[in-house]
């Protein structure tokens, strides 16, 4: 936008209010900048949730934890029975980042990141909410909440999923896409799979229905070099019409639009989770400018490895934010 290469789509949307209202309201913030809309959300709604193995929970008489203390109880019971509470493959960094993002939201509310990004008065990545999130991540690590070797395991070769499949780990915080991956990869295990939302934190300001994820992770924009933007917009409308949305659902994908006809029960619940969420926080590594997003991933991996203090991590983020966000 700053280099003046994409077309402002606001006027087109104003002419087509019914087109705009088909999409989920939470889908638009990611495509909005300077109060103008620059892109149309088209693909994949996915949110991070805690998947768990129902069989293990039943065996040890555990219920999905709603609060931090209940989560710590679940961790203690699982540890005592020699089961790793969480499977985490954090070589990839964005996987561990999900715990941190949820903790920031539960502790400081959905506004704390927005204010830090907008550089609003009092907004800062060194806000106590970020520091506490780091502290709680390290509390989990010290409690032995993660399967051995988590900082070296590679999500892309299924290192965390095989911990779940083998019953060596009971839970995994990951994007909802995991459900369709498991369904295809291990249908027998899919019947044992369920999920719960990330628990609340004592004294936290965040709404327990807030989610971390993306309402649409691919967008259509029109280039400034386009000779006929009107026709291009028509094309985008066709590519996001009801027919094309049905095709996406048939392919077990959730496009970011309202009134989808979904039959898979878990997919249905995901939709409800997204629909009921007062705020959807986009993954930091996509929301933040690239250098800051990369730093977030590195500091978070260091927090998990206990090689950096929560204060250091927060201060490094704020220092980089001062450079990248004017």
């Amino acid at each position: 936008m700053k280099s003046n290469q994409v077309v402002d789509l606001t006027p087109y949307l104003q002419q087509n209010p019914s087109f705009q209202s088909r999409f989920l309201a939470t889908a638009w913030p990611a495509a909005t900048f300077d109060n103008k809309v620059w892109a149309i959300p088209a693909e994949n709604t996915s949110v991070a949730v805690v998947f768990y193995n129902k069989e293990i929970f039943e065996k040890y008489k555990l219920t999905p934890p709603k609060t931090w203390d209940e989560l710590l109880h679940v961790i203690t019971v699982l540890k005592a029975n020699n089961i790793a509470p969480f499977a985490l493959a954090n070589k990839n960094k964005w996987t561990g980042s999900m715990y941190y993002m949820y903790l920031v939201d539960r502790i400081g509310g959905s506004d704390v990141v927005r204010r830090a990004v907008m550089r609003a008065p009092g907004g800062s990545f060194a806000d106590p909410a970020f520091v506490e999130a780091g502290t709680r991540v390290q509390e989990l690590v010290k409690a032995g909440a993660f399967a051995q070797g988590f900082n070296g395991l590679d999500y892309d070769i299924g290192a965390s999923r095989r911990l779940l499949y083998s019953g060596r780990a009971a839970m995994e915080l990951i994007g909802s896409w995991e459900a369709s991956t498991v369904k295809a990869e291990n249908p027998a295990f899919y019947s044992k799979l369920d999920y719960f939302p990330f628990p609340t934190v004592p004294g936290g300001k965040g709404d327990p229905n807030d989610v971390i994820g993306t309402v649409g992770d691919n967008f259509y924009s029109i280039s400034k070099a386009c000779a006929d933007p009107q026709a291009a917009f028509k094309l985008i409308q066709t590519m996001t019409d009801d027919q094309s949305m049905r095709e996406r659902v048939a392919d077990t994908r959730i496009p970011p639009v309202k009134n989808l006809e979904v039959t898979d029960p878990m997919l249905k619940r995901f939709l409800k989770t997204v629909f009921d969420a007062p705020a959807v926080q986009l993954w930091y590594d996509q929301e933040l400018p690239p250098a800051l997003g990369e730093l977030h991933k590195n500091t978070t991996q260091a927090l998990f490895g206990l090689t950096m203090t929560p204060q250091e991590a927060a201060q490094q983020m704020e220092a980089e934010a001062k450079k990248d966000l004017n």
Partner: protein, 308 residues
């Protein structure tokens, strides 16, 4: 004194046409020079030029900032950690790969024809793609399912079982071991080629004079391999300083930069942080460092060279 006819004397005389004309030389050299210019010289100059910009590599937002990237690089702890890791890699690659490769080469050379199967087996790692090797060893090192820790536990050495790739203290060492495993065959072949040019009479004469195999190795084979060894050391050093693939696949430079190399840091800077200018600064610095270290290695190894 008998007259020995030197092989040189029987060689055909130089071309009857005399020295080729400048036009002919230029014509034959042109394709090579053009390719070098396009694929070596131009990118080199261009990366130095890019290192003076603040640019994300997309769009037209680039800004000339002079030496600022270079100043930033000179106090970037992440870069120095990467340089340190590269140097560790270079030193250990030479210290581990050369002796093992040399031993294998000498032994295979001695075994002669009977060692064909072994030769092929030892050569295999070199034929595999680095990405495949990386994925295999990620599984070998996996602390939950990997055979390495399982074997250590089975042998009663459970206290040696480690979180090989996830613990900053072991990540570089664990990848270094795989890098050596992959590259030793290359140097083995190099040294075997060197040994095959040693004339058998020398060894036979020494044996007749009662020299032990160790003495033959020390006084005949090793001096004969001097030049090859030097090439090997130089290639290992340069290769280690530019290293990228197995580290990228196995640890991505992590955890927390513990196994970061200059090349992986450059990659992350350009393709994850989208700082093309700063990434080019790292690339240019890398070129200068490789140039300096390679020249020093060349001079040092030449100094220790003895006349044979």
């Amino acid at each position: 004194m008998s007259f020995i006819k030197l092989p040189m004397a029987t060689m055909p005389k130089r071309s009857r046409l005399g020295r080729p004309s400048a036009v002919v030389s230029a014509t034959f050299l042109a394709p090579a020079i053009a390719l070098l210019g396009i694929f070596l010289l131009y990118p080199l100059i261009s990366s130095f030029r890019l290192s003076t910009l603040d640019w994300n590599g997309l769009g037209s937002t680039e800004r000339f900032i002079g030496a600022q990237n270079w100043i930033h690089l000179s106090h970037d702890p992440a870069f120095f950690k990467a340089v340190r890791n590269n140097l560790i890699l270079a030193v250990f690659s030479v210290l581990i790969q050369m002796p093992i490769a040399l031993t294998l080469a000498v032994m295979l050379d001695k075994a002669g024809r009977g060692s064909r199967t072994l030769k092929i087996l030892y050569f295999l790692p070199l034929l595999m793609s680095s990405v495949a090797i990386g994925v295999v060893f990620k599984n070998v090192y996996d602390p939950n399912f990997g055979p390495l820790n399982a074997a250590l536990n089975a042998l009663g050495l459970g206290n040696l079982a480690q979180d090989w790739l996830g613990d900053g203290r072991f990540a570089l060492g664990a990848t270094l071991a795989v890098i050596c495993w992959q590259n030793i065959p290359f140097y083995m072949i190099l040294f075997m080629a060197g040994l095959s040019s040693l004339s058998p009479e020398l060894r036979e004469a020494a044996r007749l004079d009662g020299a032990s195999p160790l003495r033959i190795f020390w006084h005949i084979e090793l001096p004969h391999l001097q030049g090859t060894l030097r090439t090997g050391v130089l290639l290992a050093v340069i290769g280690s300083l530019r290293y990228f693939d197995l580290i990228f696949v196995m640890t991505g430079g992590g955890p927390d930069g513990a196994s970061e190399l200059m090349a992986t840091y450059m990659y992350r800077t350009v393709f994850s942080s989208f700082q093309l200018g700063y990434g080019s600064t790292i690339a240019s610095a890398m070129f200068l460092i490789v140039l300096v270290v390679a020249s020093v290695t060349l001079t040092l190894t030449r100094r220790f060279e003895t006349q044979i």
